[in-house]
């Protein structure tokens, strides 16, 4: 049951299209890289594929069916700025367990320390917060995960560790991954296929 975006187009101000006619497909277990200039609509496209906004044109389907509102979203999105994706008034343990309770193995894979769970989001660094966002997205019901500049705020060692753990889990569960990044070296390392958004 592939994730397919057909004929996608979007604008924020009427008739000023950010992108048009985008066709994308990701198979279970596939790793697809998205690249393009900043401001070309990569994040908007990610939000459309995850079902958070409706495209002005075209449609998104998972296994032939359109994405349902008010249900668990099979396409999970990991945002570029974790500090903006976490409720600042919740403790980290509440953030972590909102949709499911992750196993200790997963917490260990992303090196989330127990002492962080009692803290407020403001008391953790961007990289530490992002690990929570990743674990949160790895709900057992997730079929696809979109990683929008997931590790740009991390140092190289942590980046390598996180991608290693993340892709291992995705592979074992046959989750399809869309990697949004500007870093060509990273995309070439981890992706099966690449797609470039926008005009050259």
């Amino acid at each position: 049951m592939p994730l397919i975006g057909e004929n996608l187009g979007y604008y924020y101000q009427k008739e000023r299209w950010i992108f048009k006619d985008i066709h994308l497909s990701v198979a279970p277990g596939e790793v697809l890289g998205l690249s393009g200039y900043s401001g070309c609509g990569k994040t908007t496209l990610s939000r459309i594929l995850a079902g958070y906004i409706k495209p002005r044109n075209g449609r998104v389907t998972v296994g032939g069916g359109e994405l349902k509102r008010n249900a668990f979203r099979p396409v999970q999105l990991i945002y570029q700025h974790p500090e903006k994706a976490i409720n600042p008034k919740w403790r980290m343990e509440d953030v972590l367990t909102e949709s499911y309770t992750p196993s200790q193995d997963i917490l260990d894979a992303f090196e989330i320390r127990d002492e962080w769970l009692k803290r407020w989001p403001l008391e953790l660094s961007g990289g530490q917060l992002q690990r929570f966002c990743i674990v949160r997205a790895l709900n057992p019901a997730a079929k696809y995960i979109i990683a929008d500049e997931m590790t740009t705020m991390l140092d190289a060692i942590t980046q390598a560790k996180i991608w290693n753990a993340f892709l291992r889990i995705c592979r074992s569960r046959n989750i399809g991954v869309i990697v949004v990044s500007h870093e060509a070296a990273l995309l070439n390392r981890i992706c099966d296929n690449l797609y470039k958004v926008g005009r050259d």
Binding site: G39, M153, D155, A156, N164, A184
Partner: protein, 287 residues
């Protein structure tokens, strides 16, 4: 030592926290940081996430939260950098490019945010800055939520470029922007340095930093573990002094990436699963 613009010696930073209601304790994320920046020099500060790089910047600027306790010495142009002096200098002689795009005012148009502190010819200077960083004149009318992550970075950078700046502290100025804009920002930092300013470039993007930096300070768990010439980062990293720095260097996607993690687990290399069709094949990525 007379040409040292900024000298940070044995800096420690602690935070007092309340727990169990009224009991107080102090945690020490930074224990011993040493950095020196000379005029016209670019020093990159790298290290793992959460190692205290941003705190270093905030300590120099005097914008740590109220519950922070600082130790050690910070000197700027040969004199101790007191809190009053920090308040007087920041935004004028010492400029700051913050890490989080949350530092922009969400309710102010970005053009206006760039015009703050520019004086009488603010509109024309702002236009010139926008043009230099590849932002359209019409983008100035937008609010931060209407811009992409990479565009916000460039707006943040534009807010920090001012006349008379002697020390630039750039906290992760480059994530999420495309290579052309990245090159422009690096060029700009280099330009500031060649005009005599000192630059502290806090970053994870070691590859980009090495293009312009003179020296690299490596921080691990709140301590400076190594300060090396940028030229030492080459090949397998044999000229690097500490194991941590070597691992940091080798973990780049351009180098070995996660090789040290492999072997433990079976890791399939993606290359044999490539498909054609609508999608670009690998290596066709030409930006």
């Amino acid at each position: 030592m007379s040409d040292a613009l900024l000298q940070v010696e044995h800096l420690s930073i602690g935070f007092s926290q309340y727990f169990k209601g009224t009991k107080k304790r102090v945690i020490h994320p930074i224990s011993d940081l040493n950095v020196e920046i000379r005029e016209g020099e670019i020093v990159a500060v790298v290290g793992s996430s959460g190692s205290g790089k941003s705190l270093l910047a905030h300590a120099v600027l005097g914008i740590l939260p109220g519950n922070a306790v600082c130790g050690g010495n910070i000197a700027y142009r040969g004199e101790p950098l007191t809190e009053e002096r920090k308040a007087r200098l920041r935004g004028r002689e010492i400029s700051f490019i913050p890490q989080s795009v949350n530092y922009l005012d969400p309710l102010m148009r970005v053009g206006k945010q760039v015009r703050i502190g520019l004086g009488a010819d603010a509109p024309s200077v702002q236009q010139a800055l926008f043009q230099r960083y590849g932002l359209k004149a019409s983008d100035g009318r937008l609010f931060p939520y209407e811009l992409s992550g990479g565009m916000l970075r460039r707006v943040l950078f534009a807010t920090s470029v001012r006349e008379g700046v002697r020390l630039v502290i750039a906290d992760e100025p480059t994530p999420g922007i495309h290579p052309e804009a990245l090159a422009e920002i690096l060029k700009q930092l280099k330009q500031l340095a060649s005009e005599g300013a000192g630059v502290m470039l806090i970053t994870h993007d070691l590859m980009s930093a090495l293009e312009i930096a003179d020296r690299v300070a490596v921080i691990e768990e709140g301590r400076t573990v190594e300060i090396s010439e940028a030229a030492a980062f080459e090949g397998a990293g044999r000229q690097l002094r500490t194991e941590f720095t070597r691992r940091l260097w080798r973990a780049l996607p351009d180098n070995d990436f996660d090789l040290e993690l492999q072997g433990k687990e079976e890791v399939r290399i993606a290359a044999d699963r490539r498909k054609s069709g609508l999608l670009l094949s690998k290596g066709a990525l030409d930006f």
